[in-house]
Amino acid sequence: MNIIEVNHINKSFGAVRALNDIKFSVKEGEIFGLIGPDGAGKTTLFRLFTTLLLPDKGQIFINNKNVVKHYKEIRHIMGYMPGRFSLYQDLSVEENLQFFATIFQSSIEENYDLIKPIYSQIEDFKKRRAGALSGGMKQKLALSCALIHKPQILVLDEPTTGVDSVSRKEFWEILHQLKEKGITIVVSTPYMDEAGLCDRVALIQKGRILSIDTPLNIEKSFPKHLYAIKTKDMHKLIHDLEKYQYTHSTFPFGQFVHYTDKRNEFNIRDVYDYLEKNSHIQISIDKIKAGIEDCFMELMINQEEK
């Protein structure tokens, strides 16, 4: 069953087209990821979900209810964690939680079981002001606050931005535990490596959805052979590959350059020879499997060519 249904949504801010004909659905009980760089339109989309903005065109249904007409009911079943950790800096950890519990007509005791795995990690600091917490702890508190009224759907806008990698990993583990409890989670992230942790992802760029599928299928659908190339002089390597007549795409990727060729059938030896001719040394070329980021780049090129 689809718990969220998004139909041909358009939203503009003045001349800026923030969302362009967005259409997708989220299944009940899944972790759905919106992956895209800053300014792709993720936050705008979330604000439409949470009834904070109105679409120019199209409809959104949550639990078969139109978000514009039935916003009051929808606000009860939705847990929302905005992009910045929206906590009251001058209230203590406990007071923040208490406050959000009361305004959502719930109490800490009522839903303690649900938040326990998260809240217990910060409970030692419950007298501390939220402003004095570390990024990871703020994130956990914000999540506890979003969960305190036991929502059916959890909407998390870039919950891992600005948080250290250990906390990020812990956070995703928590999300999987929540999924086990039947909560549908819609999460956005600019980190491509987090895509694999979602059940399904939508790749979004400049207000358009590039692709929607499971992370695995998206990776499988990569249309080209992909190579990771490394030589001694990386700067020159990028430069030379960009000049190479058969280059389809090159992207620096850590200590490698990811390369695809314009030709469908070819011998990678050609590239090796070309690099050698351009006096590169310590050349290594490996065929690799495409990751989400490669797919994203590929889709972006296609989009621009269109």
Binding site: T51, L52, L53, S86, F99, F100, T102, I103
Partner: protein
Amino acid sequence: MKAFLGFIKKEFIHIFRDFKTMIILFGIPVTQIMIFGYAVTNEISNVKVIILDNAKDEISRDIIHKIEASRYFMIADYIQDPNDIEAYFKKGDVKEAIIFEKDLEKKLRKEGTASIQLILDAIDANTATLIESYTSSIIRTSVNEKYSNPQLIRIQPEFRMLYNENMEGTYMFVPGTMALILILISAMMTSISITKEKELGTMEILLVSPLRPTQIIIGKVIPYFFLSFINAVIILALSYFVFDVPIYGNFFLLMALSMLFIMMALSLGIMISTLSSSQQSAMMISIFVLMLPTMLLSGFIFPIDNMPTLLQLLSNVVPAKWYISIVKKIMLVGVDFQFVIKETLILFGMCILFIGVSIKRFKIRLD
């Protein structure tokens, strides 16, 4: 309802935890009333005076005696030569020289008129004027006591200012300060505290929550309503007990109309918050739209009657003008409600207008 109470509780925590807010709420009112009460009042005390008595008769001795006894003056020296006066003034601490004419009493009796020369250090022109009029008043009293028909016999000191409002002027700071403080706290603090939520992003969650927008707004306003009211009481108490400012009219009427003014200021604050998206802009709007007109165009510092016609017209839209008028009339003149009906209705109308605009502009959504 529980959610609403929780919200109000949260607002109080914000206020009481923030040192700066507490300073603005309670430090500023007390400081201001003290500054206006002590420093800006037109009162003089212990002014140093030198005397050149060429008359040395009954009337001059009586005047000197009265000046000596007054708490406004202190006789620094008696001199013999008028050429010494300049030296005293140059030292700086002597502000006035009083010179009695020879045969003062005789002249008075014979000609019905005589003169006493007052020489003043007019570097501070306002104070000089005051000193002059205080001295003149002492001289007048003395002459009045001495002669049964003082209408006929007169010492005529020369006044540069015809009328001294001093005795009333000392009280004038109270209505103005009340207006300023109430508008500052009510309007500025509410607008800042609402825009703060927008800036921090917590407004998003509040809007997503089942709390209704009216509950959010009323919840924001209630704490400031309370605190503003307490402030009004503090200001009145300070002026009554510390500065002996009388309250001639009905105290409860004054408080009731102060509450109306607070309501008006709060709705103005809400309106400002719907017009601005950051704390900074809320603050700037508050200062330029509220504080400056309240100080300059309300009759608090500059009398409205002396302004150019354009500014006089403009002053009518400054809420503080009407409130100051109410406070003056009730506190210092002691009138009944019927004499402030016009002001009350104007404030009430402004209140309704601001609430209307706020409701129209406050969004249940973000855009």
